[in-house]
Structure formats: C-alpha cells, structure tokens
Amino acid sequence: MYTEKVMDHFSNPRNMGEIENASGVGTVGNAKCGDIMRMYLDIDENGVIKDCKFKTFGCGAAVATSSMATELVKGKTVQEALQVTNKTVMEALDGLPPVKVHCSLLAEEAIHAALWDYAEKNNIKIEGLSKPKEDIHEEEKEPEY
C-alpha cells in the first residue's frame, strides 16, 4: 500500500525526537482521528532552520510525512520553509494512498504551527503565515460511509 520511500521513512524516521528549548514548537491533529504531529524547530538569528525534529502519534503515513517534512525544511530559511506544502511532501515520498493524503496536510500544518510559535515567541510577523487551527481537541466530522 505504501511506496518504498514511505516505508523507508517510516521504518527509519529521520529527525525523530525533541529539541530542548526549541525556537518554535507546533502540535497539530487530534487523537480522535488517530494522528497527532509535533514539530520542533531550531532557528538561528538569520532565520535559517538549523535543526528540526518531530514526534508523531499516527499511522505509517503520518510518521513518514513527518520525517520527510523535517528533512525538507532543515537548512532552509523560514520563508523557504513556508513553500514546503503537503504536495511537496507527498511528491518527495513518491505519493500516498488517497485515504492518507490528510497526513501530508498535517505535516504542512505542523511546520506552520511551529513557525507561528517561533514568530509569537520572537514577536515577529512572518509574511504569508496565518494562525494555525487549534484542532488538537477539535471534534472532527466522522467520514461518511
């Protein structure tokens, strides 16, 4: 069901873990739907993402997209990181099954949430970044049968 790349990132996740005193931390998703992603960013004074780590509760695709997302934003500037969309993540993984596309959206949102946290902590405004939804406890609509 998953591509080789997904399986690779799932079984050997890159950048899994926490960053102590991270510049920004973002958590998205909710336990009801079975996916929670948390991203830690270490951003230097030039706005370059020096390190990025994640923790994820979720399916294989959720882990793999988190892992890939960290790889994609690492070394990038904040502005460049904003260009990393769910599509970028999916393509980098050679695709996802249709029912798992939402995982890649979650990965995008998790980066945005961490960037938002960083911006708030540093009292700056990041062009093109809006406040992430606080959906960790949000009720989601059950998928229709």
Binding site: F10, P13, M16, T27, C33, I36, R38, F57, G58, G60
Partner: protein, 395 residues
C-alpha cells in the same frame, strides 16, 4: 523469524489441505450442475446434501433447515432483509447490538432508510450485551432480535441462550451472526432458541465465498436472491459445489478437533496475555477475560497508534490486525472498542491477535518480544507519551 507468523485468523484462515483435497474432484471430474437430471449430476446433488447434513448436525438442526449462500455477509443480509420483508405486516422494529459486524450494522442502516426502526443495544465495559436493556427495548412491533454469537474484534461470547429465551417469550424471531463462533464453540440451535444463524466457511479453514443460513422450519423468510429453484426455491443460483463440499469438510474437521484446538489455543492465548501484561506497561486487554473465543486476544497499548504497530509487526513477519479486516483501511477507530467505552486515542492503539491450531509457543514468544520492542519504539516517537511523561514528572 524467516517464517510468516499468521495471527489474523478472525480475518480469514488457511484452507486446510484436506478441505482442498475434498473439493478438487468437483472442479474437473464431477463438475455437473446438481439441478441436472442425469446420473452424472446426481452425484453432485448428493455431495451437496452430504455437506448440508454435516452442517445441520453440527448445529443440532435438520438437514432441510440449512441453506447455502455466498458467504457470511450474504447470510446476514438475507436474515435481516428477508425477515423484515416477510414480517412487515407484524411490525417494523428490529433489535441488534452496538458491536455487530458491519454486515449487520450496514444492513440495519439500509432497513432504517426503508421504513424500519432499529434499536442498537449497548454492551458493558467487558463487551457483553446488556440484557436488561435488550428486554426493555422490546415493543409489540419487534419482529427480530439479531445478536452476534461471538464478536470478531474482542472475541466476547454473548449470552445466546438467554437471548433465545427472551425472544421466545415474546414470540420474536432470533437471529445470531455465528460467523466467528461456528467451529470454535459448541452450538445447538434448539437448546439455544436460535431461529436464524449465519456462518461462513473461510473463518473455519474452509474456502472463501461460501456460507450458510440456518432457517428454522416455519420461519417464513422470503428470498434475497431470486431466480432458479435451487436451495428449495429459497436461494437461487447454480450451487457452488466445490465450495459447499469444502465447507462441509471444514466443519467436519472443526467439530472433531474442537476440544483439542480450544485447549491448545487457550494455553497460547493465556501465555500471550500474561507475558504482554507483565512486560509492556500501559496496556489493557479488551473484552471479557473469560467469556471470549479461545483464539482471540485484543490489546490496547496506550500512546501509540495501531496501524504503525501493524506495519512494524509485518516487517517482522507477523500478520495481525487492529480491528476487523474490512475496516483496517478506514480512519475510524473501531466501533466495538468505542462501544466498550474506550476513549478514541486508546481505541486507535489496539491490536487483535487471533490464533489457529498451527501457531506455536515459539511464535507467541517471538511475537511478544517484537510487540515489546515496537511498542517501545513507537512510544519514543509519540507526542502523547511525551506529554504523559512530562505530566507525571510535574506531579
């Protein structure tokens, strides 16, 4: 381990070699249509009736009360829709439970869209149906009670005899989905007051695509599949002779080996539960500890998600499930685990292991080792576990 460890026998089972052996002649040598008039075909009619006899005997039923279908799902659909149709003049109310298989639940939804009313009775935290609630749900318009014999996810065995009695007292037909129970537990339709019973061959080491419905003599069920006069004019379509023969053979073996398998499986099951509970913290066993199928274990591991666990087990050559096979592609947590009161995030972290008589202690021990390793790895990855540890540290 090099060898595949198959621990998903509630999803489907390996067809026994003896069963395949019994089926083979009916593909090529004795391929006739049982409805045909010539001698060549009458041997097939005989073979079909022999299988029917084996299954009837296994259920304590009469041979004329067994009707072959294309599987457990068709049997469930037939039982519900055709009863609804036949007894519509008596009433439009059906009672079932919250933990039925989708073959029952989605059929009930269909019936609700067509003017029927359905009460879904709760189960307690052990997954056993609340009999008092069931009794209270009965109305003058109730035409059918459908409660599964044993649950496919958490393996709980329902108080079938008691339900049969209640149904009889109120003159209501009683259907039970015995797809998981048949072949594992002794069943007697008369002693248990069962009027309709669904079974499926591939859950008891028979072939896929063949099942049956027991219909008590006198129940005026209509047909679900109309056409030729097969199955005493109640289920049309050329008989799947090899499938029926295989079903019969599988039931024969299941009956003969039931006690032996039960003992062996309970022993393995208990070893598995004991070790996992001792070695993996923040774990629970779902479903009644005693009233459960000999081959079923259902764990919830806190802080982790089931699919990840399954894939990692798969990478270690272990086949298991985190709910019913049909829904493992879905995002919903299992409706059964929610019905026994688990919160969503814990329901998501469940693992179903269902044994066959081919499993060994070695396999179980290896599986426990892997579960331990993987659950640990996934918890290290889990933000929920991180929050939990932080919370405990702060206390």
């Amino acid at each position: 381990m090099e060898k595949k460890i198959y621990l998903d026998n509630a999803a489907t089972t390996k067809t026994r070699p003896e069963v395949v052996e019994a089926m083979l002649p009916y593909f090529t040598e004795k391929f006739g249509n049982p409805s045909s008039i010539y001698e060549f075909a009458s041997q097939n009619k005989k073979a079909v009736d022999e299988a029917r006899g084996i299954i009837a005997k296994a259920l304590g039923a009469e041979i004329s009360e067994i009707y072959f279908t294309g599987g457990g799902t068709e049997s469930d659909n037939w039982a519900l829709k055709a009863t609804a149709d036949a007894y519509a003049s008596k009433g439009n109310h059906i009672i079932t439970s919250k933990i039925e298989h989708h073959a029952i639940l989605h059929t009930c939804e269909y019936l609700e869209k067509h003017g029927y009313e359905v009460t879904y009775v709760d189960v307690n935290e052990n997954g056993i149906i609340k009999l008092d609630q069931l009794k209270k749900a009965i109305r003058p318009t109730t035409i059918l009670i459908s409660i599964m014999f044993a649950n496919n996810e958490i393996g709980t065995i329902q108080p079938i005899k008691e339900i049969g009695q209640i149904a009889k007292e109120h003159n209501i037909l009683f259907h039970t989905d015995a797809v998981q129970a048949f072949g594992q537990l002794p069943i007697d339709v008369n002693e248990m007051g069962i009027d309709l019973l669904s079974a499926s061959a591939h859950k008891l080491h028979g072939p896929k695509g063949i099942g049956c419905l027991y219909i008590r003599k006198g129940a005026k069920l209509r047909s679900l599949i109309h056409g030729g006069a097969q199955e005493r004019q109640r289920r049309a379509g050329t008989e799947n002779v090899p499938g029926i023969v295989g079903f019969g053979k599988a039931v024969e073996i299941a009956l003969e080996t039931m006690e032996e398998r039960k003992e062996k499986q309970i022993q393995l099951r208990e070893r598995l539960i004991k070790r996992v509970m001792a070695e993996v913290p923040y774990t629970r066993v779902n479903g009644d500890r005693m009233k459960r199928l000999p081959n079923n274990v259902n764990f919830s591991f806190q802080f982790i998600e089931g699919e990840s666990l399954l894939i990692m087990l798969d990478m270690n050559n272990i086949c298991a499930s985190s709910g019913s096979a049909c829904t493992s592609g879905s995002l919903d947590p299992s409706h059964v685990l929610l019905a026994i009161g688990l919160p969503h995030e814990i329901a998501h972290g469940s693992l179903r292991i269902t044994l066959s008589d081919e499993n060994t202690e070695e396999e179980i021990d290896y599986t426990v080792d892997k579960i331990k390793e993987i659950v640990n790895k996934l918890r290290q990855m889990s933000p929920l576990y991180e929050d939990y540890l932080r919370g405990s540290r702060q206390k």
